[in-house]
């Protein structure tokens, strides 16, 4: 009985994993090789037919490109902003630092759906505060249709995304900055290094692994991000801001082609698995010997 107890205790967690993770994954894999429609039910084995349909769909390639841009640009910019704020906070200029720390972190704790709606209104072409400010400052002559134009919609969702992600980068960078040995800066000061030289030769190299982890996590999370894009644009106008997770919904629950939706999910899954493996490799490198 004693030997069985740990397994018994683990059983609920195992059961949960099977039903919440393994079963849906297996079902998804099954669907991706079958003609499955919510309307007509499960049909025949189609081999790689659903994958072919995905790759032949022009919207997939547009969404793939958009997702790449969304994930990389959004993450890189969030990292730059996060690092800038982390450097400011690391200066520790009195009690204001703690207050600013909390303020800067607010976007991270706001629900992506709420953030999406907030940004949608901020960027509204007629009533949005962004246009109002830009016109007041004389930066633009006419209101810009931020979310209604194919030229700007993707940029808008990227801005919302980086606004949500930069606080996480900031907190990680701040922790990284605080772990850099101070004697490195002192030695550099003795050698007459300028602030820029210290930043590029001490700070950045010390933050290398944090940066790598953040880049990967940011990319993975952005690849998976559905909420902000769906709430702000639903992938529109005319697919201009379509990203892969929103396209999965489009295939599965708008076109009701679960086979095609599942095939796309599998494609995304393997893309993310590859990125996750890189992430795990970096993490394992950071483990102390």
């Amino acid at each position: 009985m004693k030997r069985a107890t740990p397994y018994l205790l683990l059983f609920p967690a195992l059961l949960f994993t099977v039903f919440v993770l393994a079963y849906p994954l297996a079902q998804n894999l099954f669907n991706s090789f079958h003609s499955v429609s919510l309307v007509r039910g499960t049909g025949d084995w189609v081999g790689f037919g659903n994958f072919e349909k995905v790759f032949q769909d022009a919207v997939f390639w547009l969404a793939f490109w958009n997702t790449l841009v969304y994930a990389t640009v959004g993450t890189v910019l969030a990292l730059v902003i996060g690092l800038a704020f982390a450097l400011l906070l690391n200066l520790k200029i009195g009690p204001i630092t703690s207050v600013m720390n909390v303020i800067y972190t607010i976007p991270w704790v706001i629900s992506p759906v709420v953030a999406g709606f907030a940004w949608k209104w901020l960027l509204n072409d007629n009533f949005g505060i962004v246009n109002h400010w830009l016109v007041s400052l004389g930066l633009i002559n006419e209101e810009i249709t931020w979310l209604g134009s194919a030229d700007t919609a993707l940029a808008c969702v990227i801005i919302a995304r980086l606004w949500q992600f930069y606080p996480f980068a900031m907190v990680m960078f701040l922790a990284g900055l605080q772990s850099i040995p101070h004697d490195q800066y002192e030695a550099a000061a003795v050698d007459g290094a300028t602030a820029f030289q210290k930043f590029f030769h001490i700070t950045l190299p010390n933050l290398q692994s944090v940066t790598a982890v953040l880049l990967l996590l940011g990319t993975i999370w952005s690849f998976n991000d559905f909420n902000i894009v769906f709430v702000m644009t639903r992938g529109g106008p005319i697919n201009a801001s379509m990203v892969l997770p929103v396209l999965v919904r489009e295939f599965s629950f708008v076109q009701f082609d679960l086979g095609k939706g599942s095939a796309l999910s599998i494609v995304i899954f393997f893309l993310l698995i590859s990125l996750s493996l890189v992430y795990l490799k970096i993490i394992s490198r950071r483990e102390p010997e």
Binding site: T5, G148, S149, V254
Partner: protein, 439 residues
């Protein structure tokens, strides 16, 4: 503490916890028990006033039928197809639900809805309704629901702006375009346009198609042929209808520039703040406007017709939409569901559609011709339009064609990515593939 002691303590705690867990489970499963029949009613969307009415109606029904209990759940109208398909396709879901009447073809044809004409008293019940409205619930030989809120698409014109400009609501496409152009202007004199002639619901695929289709119908076009085998909306008049909007957007700039992102709330804001003069809406518009600008005045007129068809202004159809109440084919209690449906949609209940504003038009002949109906704002135009209005063709693929074919192609043409001719040719070809079962 040793490992053994630790195990022992865990075991003792578990022994104490297990009876507690069993007791909790027992308490949870021993909820209110009902000996009679329980019916699940899924209500999609609706105004707060309507939901209140529905609850009151359920309460009354339960008093009259103590053995039947109705469990009402509120669901999102925007996700209606996803919710219904994901439930009905696996044989679950509600007993009763309110849906678009044109789902009869898709869901009824798919075997998900109960054919209500199989009930012995159906013919009597059928006689309550306006014939063209009850016909909208039909697919093939079967009727799949009882009419609820009828909708005819009309043009709503902002009275403040039209009166200030001294123009009347348009009747022809030329008048429509001219009115939109005249009402597009720089009001505050800062050199920028801040008032537009027309707004379109571009951010909602279904919403856009439902607002474009009335122009096709008013041009005398069919969406599909009578035998439902050929696409017909892509003819020269279809191209002309699309070109009208493309020119208004690209040449006149009289359609709000950001329309592709708009949902209903943005349209309402623009209309109520006098930033737009016209929109294509239905009988819900009064309650929608009242939410933001109570009592705001607007004209409601038929959708304009092509200039050469002005003689038929009074007779050309607009798009009819309708909500119906349907019974699931998987319901274990179809007879009880039918009893409730009749109670929910009888003449007495329908009277509330004219005495209160539920955002739709009554559907029973008696109520539509009652003195109470005369008091309902815009009843004349809606009754007139509804009598001639046509629903989407009764084809299982029509929602797919409307939302995923007509809308994206037409929107591309309106913003100038492609020409109206290319858009109609592309939309026609894709729609034909759906009809032919190739997509």
């Amino acid at each position: 503490m040793t490992v053994c002691e630790d195990h022992w303590n865990t075991g003792t705690t578990m022994k104490r916890l297990i009876p507690l867990l069993i007791l909790s489970l027992f308490t949870l499963t021993c909820g209110e028990k009902h000996d009679g029949v329980e019916l699940q009613l899924w209500n999609f969307g609706g105004t707060p006033k309507f939901i209140e009415f529905l609850r009151a109606r359920i309460d009354t029904f339960q008093i009259l039928h103590p053995t039947i209990r109705i469990v009402q759940s509120e669901k999102s109208w925007n996700m209606i197809r996803e919710i219904l398909y994901s439930n009905l396709s696996v044989g679950t879901g509600p007993d009763i639900m309110n849906v678009h009447a044109n789902y009869g073809a898709e869901f009824g044809g798919g075997g998900f809805y109960y054919a209500v004409n199989t009930f012995p008293d159906f013919e009597e019940v059928k006689s309550w309704y306006q014939p063209n409205l009850i016909e909208s619930t039909r697919y093939g030989d079967n009727y799949y629901g009882l009419p609820c809120s009828a909708i005819a698409f009309t043009l709503v014109c902002n009275k403040d702006l039209f009166d200030a400009e001294g123009i009347a609501p348009p009747k022809t496409w030329t008048e429509f375009r001219t009115a939109a152009r005249r009402l597009t202007k720089d009001i505050d004199g800062d050199g920028k346009t801040d008032q537009w002639g027309l707004v379109l619901l571009g951010g909602d695929r279904g919403g856009f198609a439902y607002r474009f289709a009335p122009f096709l119908f008013k041009a005398g076009l069919n969406i599909l042929s009578d035998d439902l085998k050929k696409v017909e909306f892509n003819g020269p008049l279809g191209v002309a209808a699309l070109k009208l909007f493309a020119d208004m957007h690209q040449v006149d700039r009289s359609i709000t520039p950001g329309f592709l992102a708009y949902q209903m709330s943005e349209i309402n804001d623009l209309f109520c703040s006098n930033k737009v003069a016209m929109s294509i809406e239905g009988p819900w518009w009064r309650s929608v406007v009242n939410q933001k600008s109570p009592g705001k005045q607007f004209y409601t007129v038929p959708v304009p017709v092509p200039d050469h068809l002005i003689a038929q202004y009074e007779t050309l159809p607009t798009l009819q939409d309708m909500v119906m109440y349907a019974i699931s084919a998987f319901s274990k209690h179809p007879q009880e569901s039918w009893e409730f449906l009749k109670f929910l949609r009888n003449v007495d209940a329908d009277m509330h559609w004219v005495t209160e504003d539920f955002g739709g038009i009554a559907t029973t002949t008696q109520v539509l011709n009652s003195p109470e109906a005369e008091k309902w704002e815009f009843i004349d135009v809606y009754r007139h339009e509804l009598a001639r209005a046509r629903p989407w063709p009764s084809h299982p693929g029509i929602i797919n064609i409307a939302n995923n074919v007509i809308t994206p192609w037409c929107e591309k043409a309106i913003v100038g990515d492609i020409s109206p001719e290319e858009a109609m040719a592309g939309a026609g070809a894709e729609a034909q593939e759906i009809l032919d079962g190739k997509r």
